[in-house]
Symmetry: C2
Subunit: 319 residues, 2 copies
């Protein structure tokens, strides 16, 4: 009887431990910029590392320095913004070459340390021919207009394979997105050991883009959701629902995002999908209170009871 | 005797009035960004208008929206940042196409109103072929990659003539600067009625650039200083004196600026030059306390007792 009681207690203890360990975060993210335009101090960029590492990459690089300053001010990071960028950001993953996703990288390049820029070839091509060109900025990269200063190394990603993120404990697999045809963007599936995080750059809805990019992406990540390996999805909602269809410019609204998540919902079990944090990025503050409007529309339409997260610049997120 | 006394009093009164009226400011400037790099929230841009007008131009456009937000927060301006940009900024004068001088213009373009972009042809060429290209940003201008959205109208300046700044009470005459040969930059001499303000984009010293651009500029404005018509000179000091000569990249240090102002001093009478505000722009915050170092070095070397001004983002300046 005593043995039985001990065994039961032991079993309950391990069950509790398993539960607690399941709830333990595996990724940390420091948003350096969260908006989709206008405010130059707060444009898309997310510092990401496994929870016990200080070797980060930046997912997009719209704002870096001012975001780091805010993270230091909030106590999320310690030190001088420029030094953190040099020492702790080991690479940049660029979803597409629109300026609100690369301005921080270019502006900070004179004071940065050597590292890789990871992107699909279409994106590297624009960085090479339109930004690091000497005509509008010194060429700090290793390819393109001569002389090449070779601080940055372009690393072309391939949608067919997983690529190691140098000097970090992470890998990346890219997926093509459609961002107002014929323009493209990228989703990055990041892996650390057996845990995953998905970051989408700017994207239109499949129905608006007459494409299947999101459908294929959802298909690829659904098994990771069902096995509770995918911890978070970062996805844009640029405009409120009132935005005219003809003026979406390859972006999502709350109702378009929720329709897409319904598609994902049909591929996954409801309980597992509810465990995934849905991080809303890239709201465009084009008029007063528009961000609040987008937030309310998302919350109202959240029929699947997903865990919506509204990131703030410099404030730590754990997943 | 009584008549004589009255006459003397009258004369003194008019003299005093003349003196007071001479001291009245004629220009107002709202710095939207004052730094020369790294911090994306505070890059070169100065809103300028005659004192009694709300029709501004922006001298460079590194940071716009966040600078306007700060100006509103400080009580310098009233309203929503995006609305002020639309309604009160009537045009952009771009000194050269480095990203820290145009990022704000590009980022804000989707929500801006139609207006002119004034620049020398070398600069317009880069805006056309490297920024507003559809590949890295929608083409909001009236020339370049098709389709042209025609919100902005490129207005090529000519160093041989004065150009009207549409919808303002000002004109501009441009001067070529050397910014790390063969790259060029521009100084803008702005006129409102018979008053002048001089804004220099990034520039190296003549001795470093093996050029005479600054010498010729000083020659052109010296008569305006001697006649007390030039109210302020905006000029960069990017690095402290410790910056190695080989790493100036077409910029000034405190001692290089003071040498240049000595040249100007030899062309002007000392009393008149002392009336001109020298506004220090474009300090690069590449390390901790470097801006304070530049400031101290300038103040120590200010043998001509010039009126040095250190602009702050969003804080009104009167000249």
């Amino acid at each position: 009887m005593q043995l039985y009681r001990n065994f039961t207690l032991c079993f309950l203890f391990f069950l509790l431990l398993a539960k607690v360990s399941q709830a333990q975060p595996v990724f940390k993210v420091i948003p350096l910029g969260v908006k989709g335009g206008t405010d130059e101090s707060n444009l898309s960029s997310y510092m990401l590392a496994p929870i016990h590492s200080d070797n980060y990459v930046c997912l997009d690089a719209g704002t870096l320095n001012f975001g780091l300053q805010q993270a230091v001010k909030n106590g999320t990071l310690k030190g001088f913004a420029g030094t953190i960028l040099k020492n702790n950001v080991k690479g940049y993953l660029i979803s597409h070459p629109h300026l609100d996703h690369v301005a921080g990288l270019i502006i900070n390049s004179p004071d940065d340390s050597p590292k890789n820029i990871y992107a699909l070839p279409f994106c590297i091509d624009v960085l090479k021919t339109h930004y690091f060109t000497w005509k509008n900025w010194a060429n700090f990269a290793n390819e393109g207009d001569q002389p090449t200063l070779k601080k940055y190394h372009y690393t072309a990603l391939d949608t067919a394979k997983e690529t190691t993120l140098d000097n970090t404990e992470m890998t990346v697999k890219p997926f093509l997105l459609s961002h107002s045809k014929p323009y493209q963007s990228t989703a990055f599936l990041i892996r650390s050991k057996d845990d995953y995080l998905l970051y989408l750059g700017d994207t239109g809805a499949d129905e608006m883009e007459h494409a299947q990019n999101l459908y294929r992406l959802w298909q690829a990540v659904a098994p990771l959701i069902n096995s509770n390996k995918l911890k978070a999805i970062f996805v844009e909602t640029s405009f409120p629902d009132e935005q005219p269809t003809k003026q979406l410019f390859g972006h999502l609204t709350p109702s378009l995002l929720m329709k897409e998540l319904d598609v994902l919902g049909k591929m996954t079990d409801a309980k597992s999908l509810k465990q995934v944090y849905i991080v809303i990025t890239h709201m465009k503050p084009s008029a007063e209170q528009v961000e609040e409007k987008i937030r309310k529309e998302l919350e109202t339409q959240n029929k699947l009871n997903l865990k919506l997260v509204f990131p703030q610049q410099g404030k730590l997120l754990l997943f």
